[in-house]
Symmetry: C2
Subunit: 377 residues, 2 copies
C-alpha cells in the first residue's frame, strides 16, 4: 500500500496522517495527562500546546521527572539558513515554543545555526549565501524576545572549535549504512553531507560538556527533523550523555491548502514571510489562502463553510487567535455560513499584520544586539 504522504528532513509531501506518523516514527502523543503535568509547572498553556500544534514527543515525562528532582534542562533548536529561503511564520512555531519554555522554566536556550548544512546539500549555494542568510535569520529569532543572558547562538563554521571535536565522538558511532537508511542517502552523496548529522547532534550535549556535568535537554522541532535526532539519541548514551527529549510540532500548511508544509523555497506566494509588508500579506491571503467556503454567497449562507480545510481558520487556530472563545465563535459562525470567507480572511490578515508590525520593529532593533547572543566560550 503506497503512502499518500512523505515526511523526511528533506521533503514533506501530501496530507500528513499524524496518527500514522506517530506509529511510524515511534514517538508518543502529547496527551491530556502530560499537558496537565506541564501546566502544573507553567501555570498556563501557550496556544501551541493548548491546540496540540505540538502533538508528539520523546521522553518529556523523563524531562519533567528530572526537573522535579531539581535537575534543570536546557532548550535546543536550530535553523539551517539558506539563500532564497527566508523565515516564514511556520518556522516560528518551534521558536515560539522555545521562548515560552525559556520563560516558564527559566531555561538556557542554545540555538544552532548550521551555516554549512544547506551549502552541503544544495549545489548552487555558496558559503557566503548561507552566512548572509544566517544573519537575517538570527534577527527573527532575537525578535521573538529571547533572554539575552540565557540564550546562546552557535554558528557551525564560527564555533567549529567547540563542535568538531565532539562531532567526531558522535561520528565514530555512526556508520554510512545508518545514515543511508535514515536519510535515504546514496553513494553519490558528498562526504560533508554524510558527516553533517554529527554536527547537528552536538548541541544536544554541548552545555553538558562545557559545564562538566550531565544536563537534560529538550528539542522543540518540526516532526520532519526527527530522523536526525533518532540517530543521535541512539549515540548519546554511548558517549556518556542523556538522550535529549523532543517535542514535535505538526506542519503549518501552505496557503494553498492542507497538504505538505509551508516552505520558503518552492512557491513564494504560498508562504507568509516575517519580512512581508502588510499589503503583501493581504494580497497573498486574499488571493491564495485556500478557502473552506462555498462557491457562491447564497450557497455559503445556506450550507456554511468548512473550517477544517480552511487555511485562514487553521492559521488562526494554530498561531494567531489565542482566545478560545473568540476562536470558537469564528468556527461556529463560519460553519453556519454567517461568517464569509472574505471576512474570515480579513480577521487573519489583521492578526498577522499586527503580529508582523511588532515583529519587524523588534527585528530591526535586533541588529543592534545580535552580538550579545553569539556564544563566546
Amino acid at each position: 500500500m503506497k503512502k499518500e504522504y512523505e515526511v523526511t528532513p528533506y521533503e514533506v509531501k501530501g496530507e500528513v496522517d499524524y496518527e500514522k506518523l506517530i506509529k511510524e516514527f515511534g514517538v508518543e502523543r502529547i496527551n491530556d495527562k502530560l499537558i496537565e503535568r506541564i501546566e502544573k509547572h507553567t501555570g498556563d498553556l501557550n496556544i501551541l500546546l493548548k491546540r496540540r500544534v505540538f502533538f508528539a514527543h520523546r521522553d518529556l515525562n523523563w524531562l519533567l521527572d528530572e526537573y522535579e528532582k531539581g535537575n534543570k534542562f536546557f532548550i535546543y533548536t536550530g535553523r539551517a539558513s539558506s539563500k532564497g529561503s527566508k523565515v516564514h511564520i511556520g518556522h516560528l512555531m518551534p521558536w515560539i515554543m522555545c521562548k515560552w519554555l525559556q520563560d516558564k522554566f527559566d531555561a538556557e536556550m542554545w540555538f544552532q545555526f548550521p551555516d554549512e548544512e544547506k551549502f552541503l546539500y544544495k549545489p548552487e549555494l555558496t558559503l557566503k549565501d548561507t552566512e548572509e542568510a544566517t544573519y537575517e535569520d538570527m534577527l527573527d529569532v532575537i525578535a521573538l524576545g529571547f533572554n539575552t543572558k540565557k540564550t546562546f547562538f552557535i554558528i557551525d563554521t564560527q564555533h567549529a572549535n567547540l563542535l568538531y571535536r565532539e562531532a567526531c565522538r558522535v561520528a565514530k558511532k555512526i556508520t554510512f549504512s545508518t545514515v543511508k537508511s535514515s536519510f535515504g542517502f546514496t553513494e553519490s552523496n558528498n562526504i560533508g553531507s554524510i558527516f553533517y548529522t554529527s554536527m547537528q547532534a552536538v548541541l544536544a550535549f554541548l552545555p553538558s560538556v562545557l559545564k562538566g556535568k550531565n544536563i537534560p535537554c529538550v528539542i522543540p522541532l518540526g516532526i520532519d527533523q526527527d530522523p536526525h535526532f533518532r540517530i543521535s539519541r541512539d549515540v548519546m548514551p554511548k558517549i556518556g550523555h542523556y538522550k535529549p527529549a523532543i517535542m514535535h510540532n505538526v506542519f503549518l500548511p501552505p496557503l494553498t491548502g492542507m497538504g505538505g508544509k509551508m516552505a520558503a523555497s518552492s512557491n513564494k506566494d504560498a508562504a507568509i514571510f516575517t519580512t512581508d509588508s502588510p499589503s503583501e500579506v493581504k494580497r497573498k491571503i486574499n488571493k491564495y489562502a485556500f478557502s473552506g467556503g462555498r462557491d457562491t454567497l447564497e450557497e455559503h449562507r445556506k450550507l456554511g463553510g468548512n473550517p477544517d480545510i480552511d487555511i485562514s481558520f487553521q492559521y488562526l487556530k494554530m498561531m494567531f487567535e489565542p482566545d478560545d472563545k473568540k476562536l470558537a465563535r469564528i468556527e461556529t459562525d463560519y460553519r453556519s455560513g454567517k461568517l464569509l470567507s472574505g471576512e474570515l480572511k480579513a480577521i487573519l490578515i489583521e492578526k498577522i499584520n499586527t503580529f508582523l508590525k511588532e515583529h519587524q520593529e523588534k527585528r530591526e532593533k535586533a541588529k543592534l544586539i545580535i552580538d550579545k547572543f553569539i556564544f563566546k566560550g
Copy 2:
C-alpha cells in the same frame, strides 16, 4: 596476476616494486634533470634526494617554475598521532626533507596534527590518547630544528574554526563513491572517517585562504599517503586553488628485512624510536637488523656480504651516512668480505646513537618552546 605488495594509506605489505608503483599511482620519477634543477637553487643536495629516498613526485617542475617567477611556495606535511605509535626514524624522513626545503627556499612550514584521525579509525583509542600522543610528536618535529618564525602547527580539533569551513568546501566536491574506491571504504565505515580526508586537504591551501592569494604548496610524504592527495588534487582547482606539488619517499624498511615499512604499531623490536636509549638501539640492531652477511665468518671473508638486502647498510645509505666516499668504502668492504656484519652494525649503532643523543636533547628543550609553534590566527 596477484601483486606481491600492497600500498595503501592504511597498510604497506611485502617488498614494494617502486618502478611498478610509479606507474600504478601515476606519479613521476625524480630524475637527474629534476635533481639538477633543484640543486641549482639549493647549492647542494641532502642525503634523501641524493640517494633517491625521495624518488617520485607530482608537479615539482611546476613548483619550481612558480618559484623562479618569484611565486614562493609553502611546505605542508602532517602526522596523525596515536597512542602506542611513537615516532620512529622512518617518520623523520619527510620531516627532515621539510626542514631542508624550509632552509634552502626560506619557506613557511605548515605542519598538521590531525588528532582526530586515528581516533576515528581505531575503535580502542580515545581523543585523550591521540591528544597526548600529539604533544609527544610535536616535540620530535620541533627537535629537527624548524624555524620558529616560519613554522606553524595546526591541530585539527583546536584549529577547527580555521579548518572545518574550508573542509566543507572540499567535502562538497567528494562523494562517498570516490572515498570508497580510493580508500577501500565500505558502508560500515563511520561517517567521521568518511569525512576526514577533507580535513587533511585543507592545509594544502589554508595559507592561501589566510593571505587572500594563491600560494603554491609542496607536500613531502611517504608514498602510501598519496591517495589522500590524489582526491584533494582533483578537488582543489574546482574551489579556486592550485593543486599542491608532492614529493614521495620510499619506505624505511623495518629492522627485520626489506619488506613493508618500519611501523610503530606492530613489532616494537623492528623499529628504532626517537626516544630509544643507546642500549635499546644497540640491542635491537644487533639482535634484529636483517643481515646480508654469510652464515659463517669463513664464508663471509671468502664470498662477501650483500649490502642490497642488509638493513644496516640500507639505513646508512638512506639516512645516516651522508658522506658518499665513506658509504662507498663501507659497501666495497662489505661486498668483499673485509667488513663483517657485526662491524657494519657497530657503525650504524654509533651513527644512530649520535643522532639520537642530539635529537633527544633538542626534544627536551622543545617542551619549553612548543607554544611558539602552535598557530595563532
